[in-house]
C-alpha cells in the first residue's frame, strides 16, 4: 500500500541533482546521495538490460544455487597426472594456453615463446626456427586451458607430456588441472625457452612429478581449502603471495617424501626446488579455485562470474548463466612496481589464468589478509582492507571458509556479480605479476590491475537475452 509510505519516516535515495538531497536535509528529511554515473559506460541499451536483471527472482535464485555450489566445494589434491592422459579432450598435437581463445598470429611475445618452448620440450621440432614454423603453420591446435578444466599462470602453457596437478571437488566430483610452477627468473610461463628452461621442465617431469605423485599417494590426497584458509591467516592472499602456503605444503609433504623410497639425491633436489620457490603453491591455489568455480558454472540465469583470464592481448570472463561464451576486452596494463632496470614500457599487458583466484574470492579480493601485497601500488594496510571491502559491493556473498583476521574474521567477498559490476562501475581488483613483453625475459614486476568493464557490460546483455520476461 502506498499509504504505508505515509506512516513511515521518508528516507530518500537521491540519484541525480545533489541539491535535491540538500533540500531534503534542510527540511529535516533523510536523504542519501548516490554517486551516480551512467551505468555500462553510458550505453543506455545495456543499462536497460541491467535494470531488467536487478533483483530479478530468476537471477537471484540461480545465483544462490551457483554460489552454494562454489561455497560448498571441497577441492582436494588427488594426484599428479600427465596432461595428455588426464586432461579431458587433450589431443596429441595440442597446446593449452591461458586466457580466452587466441590465434598464433595474435599472441603476445611471452605466449609465443612459451609455445615454442613446449614444442621443443615435446620433441616435435629440433630447433627454435622449426618449432616456430610448426606453430605458425597450423600443425598444432591451440586452445584455452579453461576449455579443458585447466588453468595456468602467465602464458599458461600445458603440452601433452607435461605433468599436471589433479584436483577434485569431492562434493560434486568435478576435476581441475594445473601445470607445475617453475619458480622465478627464466621460466616457460614468461616465454623463456632456452636449454636451461627445457632441462628444468624435463627434470620436473622425470624427478619432481614422480616424487610428488608418490608423496600425494602416501598422504591419501591433500585438502586444499583449509591450507588456503590457513595461508590467508599467515599473510598470503594465495595469488601474488604464496610464501606461507608453499611452506605449509612442504611441511605436509616432506614426511611423505621421506617415506617414499626415493633416492636421497632426488629428495634433496625436490625439497630444494619447492623450498626455493615462494610461488610453488600458486598453481595448486589456481586449480583449487578452478574446481570450486566450475561447480558453479552453467546455472541458467546466474550472473556469477566463473572465470576471469587473460592471454596478454585480451581479458576475458565467463559467466555461470551464459555457458562457455567469453566476453572479452583489451587486456589492461598493470599498475605496479618494477624490478631494477624495467619500466611500464617493457611490460606485457595483463596475462595468465591466475585471476581465477580473484574470481574465487581470494587474491586481490582477500587483500586485507595480505598487507604486504598492497605495497606494490604504494598503498598502506588500510588500503588493503579498503580494497577487500570495496569488492563486497560487487559480490554475491562471503566465503565463510576464507576468513580475514583484519576484518574481524569476516569471510572474503566472493562470487562476482556482473550486474553489480556494471551498476556500480566498480571493477574487480586483481593482484598480478608483470611479464616482460618480449619472450623469455621473465617477470619484471608486480602490481594491481582491474578487470575491464567492457567484459561485464557485454555479459549483462547476453544474460538478459537468456531470460524471457514473465
Amino acid at each position: 500500500m502506498i499509504q504505508a509510505l505515509f506512516q513511515e519516516k521518508l528516507q530518500v535515495l537521491n540519484v541525480g541533482l545533489s541539491s535535491f538531497a540538500d533540500s531534503i536535509a534542510m527540511a529535516g528529511g533523510s536523504a542519501l546521495q548516490i554517486e551516480w554515473a551512467p551505468p555500462a559506460q553510458g550505453q543506455a541499451e545495456v543499462g536497460r538490460d541491467l535494470a531488467r536483471l536487478i533483483n530479478l527472482s530468476a537471477v537471484e535464485t540461480a545465483n544462490q544455487t551457483a554460489f552454494d555450489a562454489y561455497q560448498s566445494a571441497q577441492p582436494v589434491l588427488r594426484g599428479i597426472g600427465i596432461a595428455g592422459q588426464v586432461i579431458p579432450n587433450m589431443a596429441d598435437r595440442m597446446i593449452l594456453h591461458s586466457g580466452p581463445p587466441i590465434a598464433w598470429r595474435d599472441m603476445c611475445g611471452p605466449m609465443r615463446g612459451a609455445i615454442v618452448g613446449a614444442i621443443l620440450y615435446e620433441g616435435w621440432a629440433e630447433n627454435l626456427a622449426k618449432a616456430e614454423a610448426m606453430a605458425s603453420g597450423g600443425e598444432i591446435a591451440f586452445e584455452p586451458c579453461h576449455h579443458h578444466n585447466a588453468v595456468g599462470p602467465m602464458a599458461g602453457i600445458i603440452s601433452p607430456s607435461m605433468p599436471v596437478w589433479m584436483v577434485t571437488n569431492t562434493i560434486n566430483g568435478n576435476q581441475a588441472f594445473s601445470n607445475f610452477n617453475e619458480g622465478l627468473g627464466k621460466a616457460l610461463r614468461f616465454g623463456a625457452n632456452g636449454p636451461d628452461v627445457i632441462t628444468r621442465l624435463k627434470w620436473m617431469g622425470q624427478v619432481l612429478a614422480p616424487a610428488l605423485r608418490t608423496g600425494v599417494e602416501l598422504l591419501g590426497g591433500m585438502d586444499l581449502k583449509p591450507m588456503m584458509a590457513q595461508a590467508l591467516h599467515m599473510g598470503d592472499e594465495v595469488h601474488n603471495r604464496n610464501a606461507a602456503a608453499s611452506s605449509l605444503f612442504l611441511k605436509r609433504f616432506i614426511s611423505a617424501l621421506l617415506k617414499a623410497h626415493i633416492p636421497a639425491a632426488d629428495v634433496s633436489t625436490v625439497v630444494e626446488f619447492i623450498a626455493g620457490n615462494d610461488h610453488f603453491f600458486l598453481n595448486l591455489s589456481m586449480a583449487a579455485c578452478k574446481a570450486m568455480l566450475d561447480s558453479a558454472h552453467g546455472v541458467p540465469g546466474s550472473s556469477m562470474v566463473t572465470a576471469m583470464a587473460r592471454n596478454g592481448v585480451e581479458f576475458g570472463i565467463r559467466v555461470s548463466g551464459t555457458g562457455n561464451r567469453w566476453f572479452t576486452a583489451e587486456a589492461p596494463l598493470v599498475d605496479g612496481l618494477f624490478f631494477p632496470g624495467y619500466t611500464t614500457a617493457d611490460a606485457a599487458p595483463d596475462l595468465g589464468d591466475s585471476a581465477i583466484t580473484e574470481t574465487a574470492g581470494v587474491g586481490g579480493f582477500a587483500m586485507a589478509a595480505s598487507p604486504a601485497i598492497v605495497k606494490f601500488v604504494g598503498g598502506t594496510p588500510q588500503d588493503a582492507i579498503d580494497n577487500t571491502m570495496t569488492m563486497t559491493h560487487i559480490t554475491i556473498g562471503r566465503n565463510n571458509a576464507f576468513t580475514l583476521p583484519s576484518l574481524n574474521f569476516a569471510g572474503s567477498p566472493a562470487g562476482i556479480d556482473i550486474r553489480k559490476v556494471v551498476d556500480t562501475g566498480i571493477q574487480p581488483i586483481i593482484n598480478t605479476g608483470i611479464a616482460h613483453r618480449e619472450a623469455g625475459i621473465g617477470q619484471i614486476g608486480a602490481g594491481i590491475t582491474r578487470a575491464p568493464l567492457a567484459c561485464f557490460t557485454q555479459a549483462v546483455s547476453a544474460l538478459a537475452n537468456t531470460i524471457v520476461d514473465g
Partner: protein, 518 residues
C-alpha cells in the same frame, strides 16, 4: 648521464618495500632511474646490466644498495634524500575497518540506508527509466523528476509499480511533498489535512502555497507527471494517489489537478473520486465544471479556486462561497493609445496554460508556444504578437540553458524586448519560490523591471507590470521579502496567477477600449 651509489650496511628491507622505494627515488629531482636493492651478487649484476651501476661496490646481500642515474649535479643531494627517506620510520596507518566508499548504485545505497522507501531520480532522461525500474525492483517508490522519458517506458514503469503496490511520481514530476518533506521543486508549507494529487508541478505548487497562505495545510502532495492522464497511461499514478489519500486518516480533503484528461481516464478518476469517502476538489484546467461536479466532487476552474475550495472544505465551510475576491487594479493614466496587448512571460508551464485559458475567454485570440487551440500557435516563439503568453520553461527555450526558475536571464531579456514594443500595455510575470528555485528571484527581476520602465518612460509610455509570487513564508527565499522588493520596484502583485491574469485583463480591456475610441 651520471650514476651514483650508496651502500647501507646491514640494512634490510623486503623486496616489495625496495621496489616501492625505487619508484619513489626515481621521482627525486634530477634522477632518471633509481634502484634500491639488497646487494646480492645477482642484484649487483642486474644493476650493472641496466647501466645503473658503473662504480665498483663492496657490499653483501645483507647490505642495502641505492643506485641512481641522472644529472651529475643532482645525484648527491638525491642520494642523501633517498637515505633519509629509507631511515624514516614508516608512517602509522589507520586502524579499524574500511573507510568505505560512497554508494554508486541504488542497490548499494540501500545497503547504507536500509529503511529507504523512495528514490528521487533526476538523471538525464535516457537513463532515468532504467534507474526507476531498478528502484521498483528493489521495492522502492519512485519520484521521477527527469523528463524526456518515452511514453512506453512510463506505461511499463507504472504498470510494474502498480503490480508491486508502489507508486511512480513522474516522469517530469517537478514537485511533491511527502510526509512534510518537500521534494525537488517544492515549497515549505504548513502541515494540514489537504491532500493533493497533481499532474502539474507548478499547479501543485500554486495550490499548496495558496492553501498555506489562506490558513490551510497539506497532508501530502503527490505528483504524477504530466502524461499520467494520457489515455494510454490511464491515470495509474493519480488513481493510486487518490486511493492512498482516501485511505489516509490524516487527509480530510483531496484536491486533484490536471489538464483535461482523456474522457475515459476522466471517467475513471471521477468515479474513484466519488468513492473516496471524503470531499474531493477537482481542477481539470479548461474542463466544463458541470461534467466534473457530482456528489462529494467539487469542480474548480482555476488553481486558486481549487485551493480556496479545499481550505473551505477543511474548515467545514461551503466551497461554493469561498471564491477568492479579486483586488481591483488602478489603471495608470499614462498608457499611450497604441498600448493594448498583454505579454505574459511565464516560468511555470501550468501558469502559462491557465493564463491562456482565462485570457481567451475575455480577449479572444491569445498566441502562445503552448496554445490551447492549435490555431493560436506562436510560430516565431522569440517574437510576441497581439496578446501573447509564453512558457519560457518549454524545451524550445531551455535547450542548452537552465530552467527559467533557476536562471532568469532569458526572461529578463524578453522583458526588455516587450517593454520596448509600443503595443505592450501589460507584462505578466510569475515568480516561483521554494526548494530548487533561484535563491533570490526578486534580486534578479527588480533591476530589469526598473530598466524596462525607464525604457518605456523615455519613449513616453507608461507600462503596467503585474505578477504574483508562488511561495510561502517558510520558503528559503521568504515570501514577504520577495513581495516587498517587487512591489517597491513597481510590480503590481496579486495573490495568485488567476488574480494576476484578471488584473492584466482589466488593463488590456480598458486600454483596448481607449485605443478603440481614438
Amino acid at each position: 648521464m651520471a650514476t651514483a651509489a650508496k651502500v647501507l650496511r646491514n640494512f634490510y628491507r623486503d623486496s616489495v618495500s625496495l621496489m616501492q622505494l625505487s619508484s619513489t627515488f626515481a621521482k627525486l629531482p634530477g634522477v632518471e632511474q633509481a634502484s634500491a636493492v639488497m646487494a646480492s651478487p645477482n642484484n649487483i649484476r642486474l644493476l650493472r646490466d641496466a647501466g645503473l651501476l658503473t662504480e665498483s661496490v663492496d657490499a653483501s646481500a645483507n647490505d642495502l644498495l641505492i643506485s641512481l642515474q641522472g644529472n651529475a649535479g643532482a645525484l648527491e643531494s638525491a642520494l642523501a634524500a633517498a637515505e633519509s627517506a629509507l631511515k624514516q620510520p614508516p608512517s602509522s596507518s589507520e586502524n579499524g575497518l574500511s573507510r568505505g566508499i560512497p554508494p554508486r548504485s541504488i542497490e548499494m545505497g540501500l545497503g547504507n540506508m536500509v529503511g529507504a522507501n523512495l528514490v528521487l531520480i533526476s538523471t538525464p532522461g535516457e537513463y532515468a527509466a532504467s534507474e526507476a525500474f531498478k528502484a521498483l525492483s528493489l521495492g522502492l517508490n519512485v519520484m521521477l523528476f527527469s523528463d524526456n522519458v518515452e511514453l512506453k517506458d512510463e506505461i511499463a514503469l507504472k504498470r510494474f509499480a502498480q503490480s508491486r503496490d508502489l507508486i511512480v511520481m513522474g516522469p517530469d514530476c517537478g514537485t511533491a511533498i511527502i510526509n512534510g518533506i518537500p521534494l525537488a521543486f517544492a515549497n515549505v508549507v504548513r502541515h494540514g489535512v489537504i491532500g493533493v494529487v497533481g499532474a502539474s508541478g507548478t499547479g501543485l505548487q500554486q495550490v499548496t502555497c495558496l492553501a498555506d497562505r489562506w490558513g490551510g495545510g497539506i497532508s501530502q502532495a503527490i505528483g504524477t507527471g504530466g502524461h499520467d492522464l494520457h489515455r494510454d497511461v490511464g491515470g495509474i499514478s493519480m488513481l493510486q494517489g487518490l486511493k492512498a489519500l482516501a485511505a489516509d486518516p490524516s487527509t480530510s480533503v483531496i484536491v486533484l489537478i490536471s489538464k483535461p484528461p482523456s474522457p475515459e481516464v476522466a471517467g475513471r478518476v471521477l468515479e474513484a473520486a466519488e468513492g473516496a469517502g471524503k470531499p474531493v476538489v477537482a481542477n481539470f484546467l479548461g474542463a466544463d465544471p458541470a461534467l466534473v461536479r457530482r456528489g462529494n466532487v467539487f469542480a474548480a476552474t482555476t488553481l486558486e479556486d481549487a485551493a480556496a475550495a479545499a481550505v473551505a472544505l477543511a474548515e467545514g465551510r461551503n466551497p461554493d462561497d469561498a471564491k477568492p475576491k479579486c483586488t481591483p487594479i488602478s489603471i495608470p493614466s499614462g498608457l499611450s493609445p497604441g498600448q493594448q496587448y498583454i505579454r505574459g512571460l511565464y516560468s511555470g508551464g501550468t501558469f502559462c496554460y491557465e493564463a491562456t485559458l482565462l485570457l481567451k475567454k475575455e480577449l479572444g485570440q491569445v498566441f502562445s508556444n503552448t496554445p490551447v487551440d492549435p490555431g493560436d500557435r506562436l510560430h516565431d516563439v522569440w517574437t510576441s504578437r497581439a496578446h501573447t503568453v509564453v512558457d519560457l520553461g518549454d524545451d524550445l527555450f531551455t535547450r542548452g540553458r537552465p530552467h527559467p526558475m533557476i536562471d532568469h536571464r532569458l526572461r529578463n531579456e524578453r522583458l526588455i524586448k516587450e517593454a520596448t514594443d509600443p503595443e505592450t500595455a501589460v507584462i505578466l510575470l510569475d515568480v516561483v519560490l521554494g526548494h530548487g528555485s533561484h535563491a533570490d528571484p526578486a534580486g534578479e527581476i527588480v533591476p530589469v523591471v526598473q530598466k524596462a520602465r525607464d525604457l518605456a518612460g523615455k519613449a513616453g509610455r507608461d507600462l503596467v507590470i503585474v505578477g504574483f509570487v508562488c511561495g510561502t513564508a517558510g520558503d528559503p527565499q521568504n515570501l514577504a521579502r520577495q513581495e516587498m522588493a517587487l512591489r517597491e520596484a513597481g510590480v503590481i502583485l496579486a495573490e495568485s496567477n488567476a488574480q494576476a491574469v484578471r488584473m492584466a485583463t482589466a488593463v488590456a480591456v480598458r486600454a483596448g477600449a481607449v485605443g478603440g475610441r481614438l
